[in-house]
Symmetry: C2
Subunit: 429 residues, 2 copies
């Protein structure tokens, strides 16, 4: 049983200066500092447990998300955790439909990222109180309770609560076996660590060699800034990994629709499994494949329009577990494989819970499915991901793996942490 | 010629406690405090002119938009105004595509509202320096220069720069006559002031009577919260205005798609000209008609999908004049009449410039066209709208009519202005 009254909600601006090494660079984000608006939730329960929530940002603007978390805080403070999770749909609706705040969204951009950070903290705390990793909390929940966490507003034309329950009910069979399978083999992953756009060819080769040695068989490369550059880099990687292994490409919204068609025709010879974010994330009709949408309404239409072949959920862009549940269920209904987006700060830690739950309780399949992996910044987390033979092993610690090490939060706090004070002083700021 | 280097950019949180009188209330926004993130732009030019920009918000969250304006400020400070407007497309792209900040958008929600506020201030300043009201600055600009203000990224599949120029070029003929027509007759308006959702029937009747006396022939009513209530209120208004006058309805995103269909079937007897925002603003495929989109990519698809019969631009939700230009031109290409959204704080003041320009230089037609009008808060503006026989008369003062009275800004500043200090003290805050 969830317990305690929320007595404190704080949000902290934590930034890692990843731009110094061109880590995470792509055609649209040339110098990201991987960052997070880090939420801590405290209650008056005697267990002393705290919930931690993150949302992922790229440096500048994290302070804007922190500001939005504070604006949403009155909806959380002084509430009983039992009342929150007992009517999780109502609580979700309350956060996303504040009659004044929804104007600056709704359910997109800054406020939605802030909503995700808060809800991620709630889920972390709930799972900790139940003594279970989040994926297990979800797997053990009965279909009716799980569905009651979802806000079906704006998606009831393609997925009703009854359909959601049916899907979950049908998959009760075989759950035990799939859970056992996950615990021994883990969930298949692919790596994006080798081929950020700002990496030199030498570095790319070296990282690729290491990844192959480490057992990786699926690779993603960033493209979209310069055609000749892309041809050379994709050729180089395809040569190194050979014709059998899997290659994905990601243009990070760089192109117009005609440009995307032209560019991909040229890169087709390297046999990409998919092209990710060819154009604006808002452009449903212009998409042949897309990812990282900002809410369930956009995903709904991409599915309706048959505009994607792979669906990439994001644990921090969507409204936490609640909204991801609705997207996983819609993907199941439309028969589209889910291959989550990860990387950043903590996205791997969080999304592994969702995709493992998806396999056990929703999709019941690994066909054409894999979860992104990036080998960065895990050292700052108290319960970092565990990769074995290019697979995610299910976390065993209670919670949503969102908690960061206290010293990391302190050191990388912006602008007052040690790391930033030194960096900013060096830049004369 | 634009002149001066930007030396100062400030953003101010100004809120009007409109919720006390249920002004502006609708099915989703039950208690809005009409507010604005108010931007002031100063340069070192000797003319001493300042640019003022607003974006419209509903109270809570205005501080988040102010925070985002500050995050964008480094892109504006120390720039020459001549360089900014001399490469306006480039400047627009820079603001909307900051490699770190775009993550918390892109081009939607908080950052896009902040972008609009800043760009509105730039346009106001430019027009003031040219000594022209904004609509006239636009009307006098040659097609090539006008097009160079537009970022065609993500819309080039339906509108190219060449096409934009052609549309503008073709309309050079007859411009003088249309300008003269505007100056004498003004642009037709409709009123939303009579029928906010929170108004009593008596109040509604009284306001409707007054509006009829004032010469209004087109009325909009808020619907969507309660069916019986809607039937009664719509019936009451239709009775008062008679069968010939025009009635529009607005559900403010309240419904799911099936709900919208059911609800509108019931309200059809009152012969609405349109139903506005029946469902989520992101739901292109679910729409038969929609409004107030957050960027040009959404509008592009609504036009492509033939999902709207009337297009309602917003001067502060879209990325200022620049992005509105692209939407006006796309609407022209698809033959869809533009009927702007207005009201709020200052939206009437701003959007009149755009729609008057549209008539003179783009649409060249008044068929099925009218601009929303709400009779609120104009007293806080230095150059308030002028309505004559239910028409907007073209503003004659230089600028974008964005400038507010200094004393209003001071008095309504949140939380330190006189009005708020008293109100918050009364609420024990």
């Amino acid at each position: 049983m969830a317990r305690g009254r929320v007595t404190r909600l704080t949000a902290c601006d934590v930034r890692f200066p990843t731009s110094l090494g061109a880590h995470g660079s792509d055609a649209m984000h040339t110098d990201p500092d991987y960052s997070t608006a880090y939420v801590t939730l405290e209650t008056d329960a005697e267990d002393g447990l705290k919930g931690y929530g993150i949302t992922f940002t790229l440096g500048k603007g994290t302070e804007v998300v922190v500001c939005a978390v504070n604006a949403l805080a009155p909806h959380v403070l002084n509430k009983d955790l039992g009342d929150i999770v007992g009517d999780f749909r109502g609580f979700y609706r309350q956060l996303t439909s504040d009659s004044q705040l929804r104007w600056i969204g709704p359910e997109k951009g800054v406020v939605h990222l802030a909503t995700a950070a808060i809800l991620n903290a709630v889920w972390d705390l709930w799972a900790k109180q139940e003594g279970k990793p989040l994926w297990k909390l979800l797997v053990d929940m009965d279909p009716r309770t799980l569905s009651s966490c979802i806000d079906f507003r704006y998606i009831s034309d393609v997925l009703t609560e009854e359909e959601a329950c049916e899907i979950l009910q049908k998959n009760q069979a075989g759950k035990k076996e799939r859970e056992a399978q996950m615990l021994t083999q883990g969930y298949p992953a692919y790596t994006t660590s080798c081929a950020w756009l700002g990496y030199s060819d030498d570095r790319l080769k070296q990282l690729c060699t290491e990844a192959l040695k480490g057992g990786w068989t699926r690779f993603k490369v960033k493209v979209g800034a310069d055609m000749q550059d892309d041809v050379r880099r994709c050729g180089l990687i395809r040569d190194m990994i050979g014709p059998e292994k899997t290659l994905m490409m990601d243009a990070n919204q760089r192109w117009d629709v005609p440009e995307a068609v032209e560019w991909m025709a040229r890169l087709a010879e390297f046999k990409p499994l998919w092209i990710e974010e060819p154009t604006s994330p808002d452009d449903i009709l212009g998409h042949a494949a897309i990812s990282r949408c900002h809410n369930r309404v956009i995903f709904k239409q991409l599915l309706q329009a048959r505009a994607l072949q792979f669906l990439q959920i994001d644990s921090c862009r969507l409204g936490s577990v609640n909204e991801n549940l609705s997207v996983l269920l819609m993907a199941k209904k439309f028969g589209i494989p889910v291959c989550p987006h990860a990387g950043g700060v903590g996205l791997c830690e969080l999304v592994q819970h969702l995709i493992i739950f998806d396999f056990i309780s929703v999709s019941a399949s690994l066909e054409n499915r894999m979860c992104e992996y990036v080998d960065h910044l895990h050292e700052h987390f108290k319960y970092p991901v565990l990769i074995q033979k290019a697979c995610y092993l299910p976390p065993k610690d209670a919670g949503y793996s969102t908690e960061m090490k206290e010293e990391s939060v302190k050191k990388y706090q912006y602008p007052d942490g040690d790391v930033w004070r030194k960096l900013l002083a060096a830049q004369g700021k």
